[in-house]
């Protein structure tokens, strides 16, 4: 017992001294991490109870901070979840490692029970005030507001100033932090990047947010299906390192090795136990209590297990957003031109079940930052539906994107880099055992198997997208050809006639001949465009790619006409051809040149 106390008190002390490891390494990151921990918790809590989440976020500047170069920032997150009973509040907000989900092999967002307590600690350290929690469960008659502080010495939450509170919903929870920090809205670590990303992978979420100097925003849910988080899966023994293996045994107390192996892991059956013995495990050991096994013995057991073939873990424990909901959600990203989404069947990578989903979307009117015309595309990464916002370069997802040849799908791409252009590439990985490169969980470890699975998904998305991009290229090509014919024909014939001193009669005949020749090319170009257009439309009909048609990226309707009077025909097609930017420009130019030739 006494021993327990020491460990838990040092836990709180350890984290309060090492907050930078869990997302509080800079003032900007502190704001983002606090927001993220609160929102992730709300989403988890709602999902757990099958509630469609509606979350309100308000972030305001309240003055200057005590730390250098910081503002005093107020962060409030309110949900319509189940709420917490008053007994649980101090544990959740003031005690480290007090999570209902700790190490349990589920695909929930929270995994450790560190997040929100760390936020409370940061608030306490910088503004001398912990967190203000307002909670109401279904059974509580009235919402209650309390302040929670972390008792760092004893790893315990302390309640203060309990009073009546107010919430928007019949049940739910609201958290308020006052912290030193700095606001960054856009870009890698931006708050808006986090919020829109969260909305993207949570189609069932309605999100209201108000940020400093910004109009309030509401992103409404596009799906009424509350995702069901599959029940926990035990870890597969082949995924573990010796240390993890031994630590895992401590969770089970006094239990025989046999029982522990069968209960604590997935895919270990009586048959496997027999196999272990065949492969050199001392049969007597199986009945030993795990708390009696020493390190050397663990090592032997561990190596026998690794020598033995086991069934791959089941993929039942992972979940996906699904192409339909994901598609609807993509349209919430902004003004989307067209996009494709791919949901892969769950599979096994490195003995762990994983599910990968990808969306690639082209946005309209992006002028700043990533995802502009000539900059790299904007990459959105998600691990168990939580946006990852830092250290992207070493991440398995970025490696996978870079390894795909996007040029084949009509995107620009410098060698060995991210493709460029006004695109968003969103990659979501769901797995109960995601391996991160570091403690702040921002970079997914790039194992070959995982990168390959990600890569395949991206390739599929790229292929789907390419049908539309190809159509656009053909359209552009056709446009150029139309323009070229009008512009260069008279110049070429004029020059030739001047050099040869040819009479007017020849000039007329040559002009007609040239138009006939180029008219043939045009017919061919139209055919190519038609084919590409058809392919794109087919893909769209099959739901593989979505083209946002409300202000029509639709192609000009082209029809064959007899080849004489080509020139007029060319012009008569223009009015329908306006939607794309290039087309519009081209027709303006054409009109201008017509005017000039008329004068």
């Amino acid at each position: 017992m006494a021993k327990d106390k020491i460990t838990s008190s040092s836990t709180a002390e350890y984290f309060s001294k090492n907050l930078q490891q869990v997302g509080f390494s800079s003032p900007t990151k502190a704001v983002l991490t606090t927001l993220k921990e609160a929102v992730d918790n709300s989403l988890d809590a709602c999902e757990e109870q099958g509630i469609l989440p509606e979350i309100s976020v308000v972030i305001e500047k309240k003055g200057t901070g005590t730390l250098k170069n910081t503002d005093l920032i107020h962060i409030r997150v309110e949900d319509n979840g189940p709420g917490l009973s008053l007994d649980d509040v101090p544990k959740v907000f003031g005690e480290y490692l007090a999570s209902s989900k700790f190490g349990r092999g589920r695909c929930s967002r929270g995994q450790q029970g560190i997040g929100i307590s760390a936020a409370t600690t940061w608030a306490q350290l910088t503004s001398a005030k912990g967190v203000t929690v307002t909670t109401k469960t279904k059974t509580m008659r009235q919402a209650v507001q309390v302040q929670v502080a972390v008792d760092i010495k004893h790893n315990k939450g302390v309640l203060k100033e309990k009073k009546e509170g107010k919430l928007k919903n019949p049940h739910g929870l609201s958290v308020e932090f006052l912290i030193d920090g700095r606001i960054q809205l856009q870009g890698e670590g931006g708050l808006i990047t986090y919020l829109t990303g969260t909305a993207l992978v949570n189609p069932h979420l309605t999100l209201h947010y108000t940020l400093p100097d910004q109009k309030p925003v509401t992103i409404s849910r596009v799906s009424n299906d509350c995702p069901e988080v599959p029940s926990a899966t035990e870890p597969h023994p082949h995924t573990m390192k010796l240390g993890e293996f031994i630590a895992h045994s401590h969770l089970f107390g006094r239990i025989t090795l046999k029982a522990w192996l069968k209960k604590g892991f997935s895919r270990i059956s009586d048959n496997s136990l027999a196999e272990f013995v065949k492969n050199g495990l001392n049969k007597k050991m199986l009945d030993m209590s795990v708390d009696k096994i020493n390190e050397a013995q663990f090592k032997d057991i561990f190596s026998v297990i690794h020598k033995t073939e086991l069934m791959s873990p089941s993929t039942k424990s992972v979940m996906t957003i699904g192409e339909e909901s994901f598609s609807k959600s993509v349209r919430r990203l902004g003004e989307v031109d067209f996009f494709s989404v791919v949901t892969r069947k769950p599979t096994i990578c490195d003995y762990k079940p994983v599910a990968v989903e990808v969306a690639v979307a082209r946005l309209k009117g992006v002028t700043k930052g990533e995802g502009t015309e000539d900059g790299p595309v904007q990459v959105l990464r998600f691990a168990n539906r939580v946006p990852l916002q830092f250290d992207k370069s070493a991440c398995a997802m970025v490696k996978a994107i870079e390894s795909v040849n996007w040029r084949a799908y009509g995107l620009q791409q410098p060698k060995d880099s991210l493709p460029s252009g006004p695109y968003v590439v969103a990659v979501s990985l769901v797995s109960p055992f995601i391996k991160f490169k570091n403690a702040s969980k921002e970079t997914i470890d790039a194992s070959d198997e995982l990168v390959e699975e990600l890569r395949r998904t991206l390739i599929q998305a790229g292929q789907r997208l390419s049908r539309h991009i190809k159509k656009e290229h053909r359209e552009q090509d056709l446009e150029n050809k139309l323009r070229y014919i009008e512009q260069f024909c008279p110049i070429l014939v004029d020059c030739l006639c001047r050099i040869t001193k040819a009479p007017e009669k020849r000039k007329k005949k040559a002009t007609e001949g040239l138009e006939k020749i180029l008219g043939r090319d045009l017919t061919a170009a139209k055919k190519e465009f038609k084919e590409a257009d058809l392919a794109a439309k087919e893909a769209a009909a099959k739901g593989k790619i979505q083209i946002i048609t409300d202000d029509a990226v639709e192609a000009p309707e082209l029809e064959e006409k007899p080849s004489k009077g080509k020139k007029r025909e060319v012009k008569s097609q223009q009015p329908e051809a306006k939607p794309t930017k290039t087309t519009a420009k081209a027709s303006v130019k054409r009109a201008a040149s017509k005017e000039k030739s008329a004068t």
Partner: protein
């Protein structure tokens, strides 16, 4: 081909194009394919000659811009030939821009930068199979500074008058050959023993200042790197009109042998149609030879493969051994061996290293060069 015939074949070409158009046929322009895979080499001919491969440009929607630009610039060039005016490529770029400015109809032709108009000029040359100079378009030819106490050059000027230049009367100033070899007539006042082409113009200048031309009945030329058309035409002229042996003296490295020396001796793949007048097949490689390093105890140093340009030079040399008919020919076996040696040992030795043989004697390099010529110590 000479300037007089250009207007004629241009008119013929345009006429053909025009009648093709009248008959709604696509005009097709054929040009010699100027690339290594269309290069032939025979030691009897001495320079790279074109094979049968042609590049065909057919008039279609995609090429109509290029062809319109070509015919437009051709008109400008023909006007120059008619009036005897000459221009550089850059000047032509501005002339084209001026035309467009004065006639808004031509706007679609407008060149965004000089590389675009340069490409069109090259295209016209390939179409007419003529030299750029035939179109009265001259580059600012660098290199070729020439020193001699025996050589007399007679130049026929465009207006028909003649200018005579006795190189011995120029003091330490060089004679600078222009890229019109056909208008020059060479004469030796006294027997000339040899002609030496030095890769570095600076070193050539040092030799002269130290009295090289006083002591040797010779012609001394500074190449200034890869020989320009002027240098190549000039060397060919010396070879043909004076019949003196020509030696090249430069660095021992892949770039010098594969590019500088090969171009001087046999022309280049990019200029297949003009190599006959722009290469001196009789030129010898005097040094630095691999054996000179040992013989004269010269400092050499390793090639930095991390340096992009040096790595590229090595790659091009390896390529040349595989694909360049010049290096594949038996007669150039020794040169190919030298390239192989350089690729294998990845070392280089500069021409100036001869100055270390006797640091107190500024004429030491000259002595070694003369000795090498006497003893036949060259390739």
């Amino acid at each position: 081909m000479r300037s007089e015939t250009i207007p004629k074949i241009s008119k013929e070409l345009c006429n053909r194009m025009l009648s093709d158009l009248e008959n709604a046929r696509r005009p097709i322009l054929e040009a010699v394919k100027c690339s290594l895979d269309n290069s032939n080499y025979s030691p009897k001919v001495g320079y790279l000659t074109p094979g049968d491969k042609k590049v065909r440009t057919e008039l279609n929607v995609s090429s109509v811009q290029k062809m319109s630009r070509a015919i437009f610039l051709l008109e400008v060039l023909l006007r120059n030939i008619d009036t005897g005016a000459v221009n550089t490529k850059r000047e032509l770029y501005y002339i084209a821009k001026g035309e467009v400015k004065h006639d808004p109809h031509l706007k679609p032709l407008d060149f965004q930068d000089q590389s675009e108009s340069d490409a069109v000029i090259d295209f016209i040359c390939e179409m007419l199979e003529c030299y750029r100079e035939d179109l009265n378009c001259y580059a600012n030819d660098r290199g070729g500074q020439t020193y001699s106490n025996q050589l007399v050059v007679t130049e026929t000027l465009p207006d028909g008058t003649k200018a005579v230049v006795d190189l011995s009367s120029l003091g330490t100033s060089p004679f600078q050959p222009k890229n019109r070899p056909q208008s020059l007539q060479l004469k030796a006042k006294k027997k000339i023993d040899f002609c030496l082409v030095v890769e570095s113009e600076g070193t050539a200048n040092t030799f002269v200042a130290n009295g090289f031309c006083k002591r040797n009945n010779s012609i001394l030329i500074g190449a200034q790197g890869v020989p320009s058309n002027a240098v190549r035409g000039w060397a060919k002229l010396i070879q043909d009109q004076l019949r003196v042996p020509i030696y090249f003296f430069g660095d021992l490295d892949a770039y010098t042998i594969q590019n500088i020396y090969r171009t001087l001796k046999a022309g280049s793949a990019a200029s297949l149609i003009r190599n006959s007048d722009f290469s001196a097949p009789d030129v010898h490689f005097l040094g630095v030879l691999p054996e000179d390093i040992k013989k004269y105890d010269l400092s050499d140093y390793p090639v930095k493969e991390t340096d992009q340009s040096e790595a590229r030079a090595l790659k091009k040399a390896a390529d040349a051994l595989k694909n360049d008919p010049f290096f594949q020919d038996k007669r150039n076996k020794n040169l190919a061996k030298m390239l192989e040696w350089l690729l294998k040992n990845k070392r280089r030795c500069e021409q100036q290293a001869f100055f270390m043989v006797d640091p107190r004697d500024p004429t030491m390099p000259e002595k070694i060069i003369v000795e090498k010529i006497k003893k036949g110590n060259f390739i």
